[in-house]
């Protein structure tokens, strides 16, 4: 409805009968419309950001108070002390994103093209886990992957764990408290963020394009490679971003499913902030993480050549 209205070419409309409003007021309307959103952004994003930026260049202690001393060395110290955790976060989140894409794409494809009347039910099932708390869902994985549980037993007898041990993601014939468990948890928790954007962009593809490809003697695999996948790129890009960005900063999965050698940068920030009470280092780590993500995302979007996300 609305689309047809806005898409109407301006030339064919009748002349504007009402006298023109004063220009200035007209010009301001969009900004007034933006105001609530902007206020929200300033109060809950910009101000905390400024506050954190300030904290990151302060020195002191909780007893003596913190003062801004422009101590930029905190950044360097934080980076040299915790670069392994940064690297690990990127690796885990990257692995989880790839797994999400591999698991999510076929499912999104199925929902978009093959599900028929089951479509809505499957979509609800994808979102259903969100009805319970993040924490409960993660804790459930402790039961699923328990040492004596059926999953680990099956993986052991199929010698899958030998392979993963060789890759260095599991140890001692167990899955819990290993990198694999953390990656599994991340994959599971962020999978819907991958599926939904993929589904929206796949669903928008005109079915006639497939028919046309078939008419031009393209094999189904060629159709997928040349037509479907390129057209779903916006979904792939936004899905991977929606998965990767929160996964890099996540600390719950590493905390509950991991061990001493699986700590991610989120855990470090949490410990520095709450336990060690070293607020400047925690703030500096947050900023480094933010900058790193921004850099990677910009690079990724440039590479994938997609301007419009979703």
């Amino acid at each position: 409805m609305t689309t047809t209205l806005t898409e109407a070419p301006p030339t064919k409309e009748p002349e504007d009968p009402a006298p023109r409003k004063p220009r200035k007021r007209g010009r301001l309307v969009p900004y007034w419309l933006l105001l609530p959103g902007l206020l929200w952004l300033v109060v809950f994003f910009a101000l905390p950001l400024v506050y954190q930026a300030s904290t990151s260049v302060q020195t002191g202690s909780l007893e003596e108070g913190f003062k801004v001393t422009w101590h930029f060395a905190t950044y360097w110290d934080a980076l040299t002390a915790y670069w392994p955790q940064f690297l690990r976060s990127v690796l885990y989140a990257g692995a989880a994103t790839v797994l999400c894409l591999l698991l999510g794409y076929p499912l999104a494809y199925l929902i978009a093209f093959r599900a028929g009347r089951w479509r809505n039910i499957i979509l609800v099932l994808v979102i259903a886990p969100f009805f319970t708390s993040f924490l409960i869902r993660t804790l459930a994985w402790k039961t699923i992957l328990a040492d004596g549980g059926p999953v680990v037993g099956a993986l052991n007898s199929l010698h899958v764990l030998d392979v993963t041990s060789w890759l260095g993601v599991t140890a001692d014939d167990r899955v819990l408290a290993t990198p694999l468990a953390v990656i599994c948890g991340l994959t599971y928790n962020f999978l819907p963020f991958m599926i939904l954007p993929l589904y929206t962009s796949l669903e928008r593809i005109d079915g006639r394009l497939h028919e046309a490809a078939g008419d031009l003697y393209a094999k189904p695999s060629t159709t997928f490679r040349k037509v479907t996948f390129p057209l779903s790129m916006p979904g792939v890009v936004s899905g991977t971003l929606l998965t990767f960005i929160p996964a890099v900063g996540d600390y719950v999965n590493a905390d509950l499913l991991g061990s001493t050698d699986t700590r991610m940068v989120g855990n470090v920030i949490q410990t520095q902030f709450l336990r060690v009470l070293d607020y400047p280092t925690a703030a500096a780590l947050s900023f480094i993480l933010m900058a790193a993500i921004l850099f990677m995302v910009t690079f990724y979007i440039r590479k994938s050549g997609t301007e419009d996300l979703v």
Binding site: L5, T6, A8, P10, E13, P14, E15, D16, P17, A18, R23, G26, R27, V29, P30, Y31, L34, L38, V42, A46, L47, V50, Y51, A53, S54, T55, Q58, G60, S61, L62, E63, G65, F66, V68, P84, K142, A146, D147, G148, A171, D172, L176, A177, G258, S259, T260, D261, T262, R263, N267, V268, T271, Q272, F273, L274, R275, V276, L277, D278, Y279
Partner: protein, 416 residues
């Protein structure tokens, strides 16, 4: 009823509006939006704003410590506590018998909230108000020793009036009377004592007993299935005791030696995880074969699972307490003191101990407890016997510098 309706816009007007927004001068181009937002961002993010920030020294920014006490006219109190730390009625989980009895006797209604899950998180939650000298909305809070010590050091809690605490003063067990951070208990009274012991799952250890921290750290049979606590004082304290040191009096070198010893076990992959409260499910399932644990949890686990065993190391064990404190600016201090005193009467104390299974800090409870639960009264984890009392050690309080340095070292240990 007739409602006012504005004149509907003619299609031409609508079209004109759309046109104006999309193509006219009022339209939002990316450029104009960018220009506007950069200007705003620069104004907000100016360097001046950065340097204007800062966090004032703790305890210095506050005004008056106490507020006017409204206890007399407002017969109520807000009490923040940990989950599973209050007796509930067996038939109706929403009823808390000891609290109800208190309200019945004194006419003071208690708003009881279980909003403490973690000391560090709770500190983060109440810190802004306390630092700014504002009310936290709580009259009584319950936190562990080291956090209680910090709150007292910062001057963020009120001195209690002994005149309102006759039972507490008389019945407090001698073991808990003189912690080095609050000698004579001027600011705090223990809610419970917490013994840190060694717990194990007989099924997972193959029927073997685990009796010392050395065994946790070195026994190859337990490799990858040992848990330690993410509370630095429990884990390092128990290790210090095992090394023959006194956690109440140790040096930096002793601390480093204990950390190095733990680090060796971590490097060997002997230790599976450093956990908070969640060790209980791991232990019950057998994913963790042996670990450090809190006695109250172990008593409850044993009731459900006969495979769970515990051992008090011969060299001793760490005891800590969760303490009741009245934060600054609390509106109902006297009511809060009456509640503290009430829980130091033998009858309510026994009811509480029978339910929560932690060490009861109140003397003379044994008889009252035996009437409710004979086993509990005989359990040295709930009412410590002479031997238990002798083995009990407390972790000394740390200076702020030590605290930061030690937590930093411990953080490096628990995750690299």
């Amino acid at each position: 009823m007739e409602q006012y309706e504005p004149d509907p816009l003619s299609p031409a007007q609508l079209a004109a509006m759309h046109r104006s927004l999309r193509y006219g001068r009022g339209s939002l181009t990316r450029r104009s939006l960018l220009r506007a937002s950069t200007g705003g961002a620069l104004a907000v993010g100016g360097l001046g704003a950065l340097s204007a920030c800062g966090i004032p020294a703790a305890g210095k920014s506050q005004g008056e410590v106490s507020s006017d006490d409204h206890s007399a006219e407002e017969k109520r109190i807000t009490f923040s506590n940990w989950t599973e730390y209050m007796d509930v009625d067996e038939k109706d989980e929403n009823r808390r018998p000891t609290l109800e009895a208190f309200t019945k006797r004194t006419g003071i209604s208690v708003k009881y909230t279980e909003d403490i899950n973690d000391n560090v998180e709770f500190f983060g939650k109440i810190k802004p108000q306390l630092a700014a000298g504002q009310e936290t909305g709580r009259d009584l809070i319950c936190v562990t020793d080291w956090l209680a010590a910090r709150l007292i050091r910062f001057g963020w809690v009120q001195k209690l009036d002994p005149a309102n605490l006759p039972h507490a003063y008389t019945n407090l067990s001698t073991q808990f009377r003189d912690p080095d951070w609050d000698p004579g208990r001027a600011y705090s009274y223990p809610w419970t004592g917490i013994s840190t012991v060694i717990a194990y799952n007989k099924k997972a250890t193959g029927g073997k007993k685990v009796t010392s921290v050395s065994q946790l750290l070195e026994d190859p049979k337990l490799k990858g299935r040992v848990g330690f606590l993410s509370e630095m004082r429990d884990t390092v304290g128990m290790t210090l005791i095992d090394m023959g040191k006194d956690p109440g009096d140790f040096t930096d070198d002793d601390f480093d030696a204990a950390i190095a010893r733990l680090q060796k076990a971590v490097d060997k992959k002997q230790v599976r995880r450093f956990t908070g409260n969640d060790y209980t499910s791991d232990l019950a399932k057998g994913d963790i074969a042996a670990c450090l644990g809190w006695a109250g949890d172990i008593v409850q686990l044993q009731a459900d699972n006969p495979d769970i065993g515990f051992h008090i190391p011969d060299q001793g064990y760490i005891t800590s307490t969760d303490n009741l404190l009245v934060p600054n600016k609390a509106r109902h201090k006297r009511n809060a003191e009456r509640l503290i005193d009430y829980y130091y009467e033998p009858e309510p104390a026994a009811r509480l101990a029978a339910y929560i299974n932690y060490v009861c800090p109140v003397d003379g409870v044994r008889d009252a407890l035996a009437r409710i639960d004979k086993d509990a009264a005989a359990n040295p984890l709930i009412i410590p016997d002479k031997e238990m009392k002798e083995k009990s050690r407390a972790f000394r309080s740390l200076t702020p510098k030590e605290e930061t340095a030690y937590e930093e070292k411990f953080a490096k240990l628990t995750g690299v």
